[in-house]
Amino acid sequence: MRLLPYGDRALLAEFPTQEGVLGALVAWRDAPPGVLELVPAARTVLVRIDPGALGLGHLKHWLRSTPRIDASLPVADSVTIPVRYDGQDLAAVAQAWQCSPDDVIERHRAREWVCVFVGFAPGFPYLVPVDGESSLPPVARRATSRTAVPAGAVALAAEYCGIYPRSSPGGWQLIGTTDAVLWDADRAGPALVTPGTRVRFSRAVP
């Protein structure tokens, strides 16, 4: 773990792997008072403090001295998300992977995914295959972002699969669409998928 400076209100803990991030999240659940928020991401956890309640020096000491456990994220729950594989970038992904569009669909559908963090927009999950060995070849973002990706778009970028909760600009490669409601601020659980949620994709009946 490397601790990087982040102004006067936070530190950024950086890990070599996604597993390191998950382990830290579990280990740091009982943070001391003054720790306001842990923001997990791909290789980092941003730890935000109330500088009036906890000094950055104390935080540094606590982060370094708390033993991290070799943990995977506890399973929050599991959902199956029906997808119409009609994405405009299916052919581009197939070309990058040197396979057919049907193979892309099969590879995506056959895996069980887990949400490692939520970012970009409320309820936008970053999913990776549960079994690290079954990871898919990384996918480059589109050279030019779309100004409007439709709500429910299922997309790939880098090592992740993501789902756009609402229409927004975006540069990920679109492979399909779902009618599942990923985000509803008025729902008891506003985000359908949260860190730790297992996700399976099924082919939606047209």
């Binding site: 990087l4 928020e37 842990l38 601020a185």
Partner: protein
């Protein structure tokens, strides 16, 4: 997802209300924002100029967390009920109550129903209007703040909206008549910064420019981020950065070499390197920077 329209879902029967006569989408309901929801992809939002928000509330005897209106640039007219205490802080400009000029940073009570007009700001950008009792629109995820990027909370005000006010607070309106606060400056603004995690992603020359140059506030600035115009910053490292956590005040360097200072409605994570982070005490200044205004970033020493 449909954000709760301001005021339209709450019964206003028997309550004091404010009617929007003209708004043009420039007035937002704001409080102190949402805390601890980053794991759902929701950032803090809340009043951009938090000091102005707190002061406006204090002046009318509200709790500091009461919802106020954040009015960008001006061009807003409101019909206030009789017996309503109000105060305007933040930006300075022509503000009138039934045509009579209203002093900034002062609590005033309407004797009868009156029209409040906020004209184009001459100093700063964002007025804060506090009304005694606070704006009582429904909460979304524990806050009445409009998050403009995530489209959460009450929609920007439009003509015809009706905003209910909360009940009379226990605390009286404080006797202090005038709070001596200067208007936001029009000159060079100096902002304190500390190192961010990716300062070393900039070349040595770019680091010197970032901290040495006089920057100008771009017109492409909003509550998501304030973009700075000036020399192009050259990166020393060109690989893609995996998404990482962002804060209000993170200064990220976009691929075109320009710094952007993230505002209250920033995305929770982002993939551009954060070179510097604005200190807590300098954050509010960004709410009042006018397009074209000059700005310098000063690296402060002290505890790491």
């Amino acid at each position: 997802m449909t954000p709760a329209p301001a005021g339209r879902e709450t019964s206003t029967r028997g309550r004091a209300v404010v009617r929007v006569l003209a708004a043009d989408g420039r007035a937002l309901v704001q409080d102190l924002g949402r805390e601890g929801l980053a794991h759902l992809g929701v950032s803090g939002s809340g009043a951009f100029d938090r000091a102005a928000h707190r002061l406006a509330n204090r002046l009318v005897g509200n709790a500091e967390s009461a919802a106020t209106l954040e009015i960008a640039l001006g061009g807003v007219r409101l019909a206030l009920p009789a017996g309503c205490w109000l105060s305007v802080t933040g930006a300075w400009g022509p503000v009138t109550l039934d045509g009579a000029p209203l002093e900034p940073h002062t609590s005033v009570r309407t004797d009868r129903a009156a029209e409040l007009a906020l004209g184009t700001a001459t100093h700063g950008v964002r007025y804060t209007l506090a009304l005694r009792g606070g704006i009582l629109v429904p909460e979304t995820l524990g806050s009445r703040s409009r998050d403009t990027l995530a489209a959460l909370g009450p929609a920007p005000l439009t003509t015809g909206d009706v905003l209910p006010l909360g009940p009379e607070p226990e605390q009286p309106v404080p006797p202090a008549d005038l709070v001596p606060v200067d208007p936001p400056t029009l000159g060079v603004v100096e902002v304190e910064v500390r190192p961010g995690p990716r300062l070393d992603w900039l070349s040595t020359g770019a680091r010197e420019l970032l901290l040495g140059a006089e920057w100008r506030v771009s017109t492409r600035s909003d509550r998501t981020g304030v973009r700075l115009e000036g020399p192009t910053l050259e990166r020393a490292r060109h690989e893609e950065l995996a998404s990482e956590g962002m804060l209000r005040g993170s200064i990220q360097i976009s691929p075109d070499g320009a710094p952007t200072v993230l505002g209250p409605d920033h995305p929770v994570t982002g993939g551009y390197p954060v070179a510097l982070v604005v200190t807590e005490s300098s954050l509010d200044r960004f709410a009042q920077l006018r397009p074209g205004q000059p700005l310098r970033l000063r690296l402060v020493a002290g505890r790491p």
